[in-house]
Subunit: 225 residues, 2 copies
Amino acid sequence: MPPAAKRPLATDATGRPVRPALTREYIVRAALAILDRDGPAGLSMRKLGAELGVNPMAFYHHLPNKGALFDGVIEAAYAELDVDIDGPDGGWRNILAAFARGLYDVLRRHPHVVPLVATRPAYSPAVLGVADRALGALGRSGFADRDLLVMVNALRSFTIGHVLAETGDPAGGPVPAAADAAVLLGDYPNLARAITGGHRPQEQFEQVLAALLDGFDRWPRRAGT
Amino acid sequence: MPPAAKRPLATDATGRPVRPALTREYIVRAALAILDRDGPAGLSMRKLGAELGVNPMAFYHHLPNKGALFDGVIEAAYAELDVDIDGPDGGWRNILAAFARGLYDVLRRHPHVVPLVATRPAYSPAVLGVADRALGALGRSGFADRDLLVMVNALRSFTIGHVLAETGDPAGGPVPAAADAAVLLGDYPNLARAITGGHRPQEQFEQVLAALLDGFDRWPRRAGT
DNA sequence: ACCTGAACACCGTTCAAGT
DNA sequence: ACCTGAACACCGTTCAAGT
């Protein structure tokens, strides 16, 4: 990829770059910004150090290792996930749809973070808190707690899988950019026919989300709504 | 991780290690075996060279770079996906379920490959062929071609997302092994209640698979079955 | 307590050289 | 054509030293 004309991550009123105190919070936010801007190849401890004008080793006083940096980045991205749980219509269907759409939007805003959230478990209070409050709100639906958790996990898995296919970074370097045309070459007529008209990933996401919720609708529940 | 008592990948009748001719096929199979045995940290060009008794640079005569090696590994894993498309009951529901379960089984057999198939597009003839034949068989169902492709992609996304959560390698090194207990600490009562009784991922997979198919069942279709 | 500099043990890949 | 050896430009992380 091209050098990409880097601007400093923060400047003061006169345009001079400014470096706030080195904290876990500040390091993690800078890491997320770099990941968004340059992708995974741009986020090394050394490059992060250069960007922040600091010796790369300084980070190890605030984070045990690079994995912890990744977990912080995941946390920072999840912090943008603000699902309106007690909105005007608190029906289970709306709550689950809002959760799935909220996650979808956050992940599409940070495509380079998707492979991280897809594979690293997130135990930050923010994530656990949202999940817990959502389950509480969903309790009024009459579904069993176990089933509610299965629903949330299913929506999470599908959404992540979908965004990975849509925009995820290829693990282990860019793909050879081949064969894409082979599909259209007539060797696979059924595939070719089904693909005509483009992909429209967002429409497909909504279509499958509705199907999933329709499926959940048939699961057993107590008196509730 | 521990050194893990490595055996040679192939031996002759007397137990002496044997090295077949260096071909793309042989390199890729060895890479998959190492990935299965040692995980991603064990699969470097240098270690692969040591394992096969060959200079790491020799691989570059058969593969352009490590990304191509990964694509070969994906291909080798997908080759195990053998969905019985024209089985005794060729109804669309059975075909889609067989596809999802087949993919689920293959991925669980090669957990370290999951992050690769999740993020790198696979255009090998094997994959395209299966998809094309499946779409052909599903054509008798009366669903629109576009919708059939949406179904297959949805099952793929959900299955991959599910297996990632179940067994995937954390991208960027192992996770700090923390906080797991925090969930049970009573800070999140709804979560704690929903989790009691363990995870049983395979049951959840089947439960959600059924829900998805139930949802698809309501989509419009022509005369068909 | 917080940051630095040198060093260690790795990477993928290029390139010139050998057969 | 296929493989080798040395070299380049990187990594994450440890450790002793500075303030």
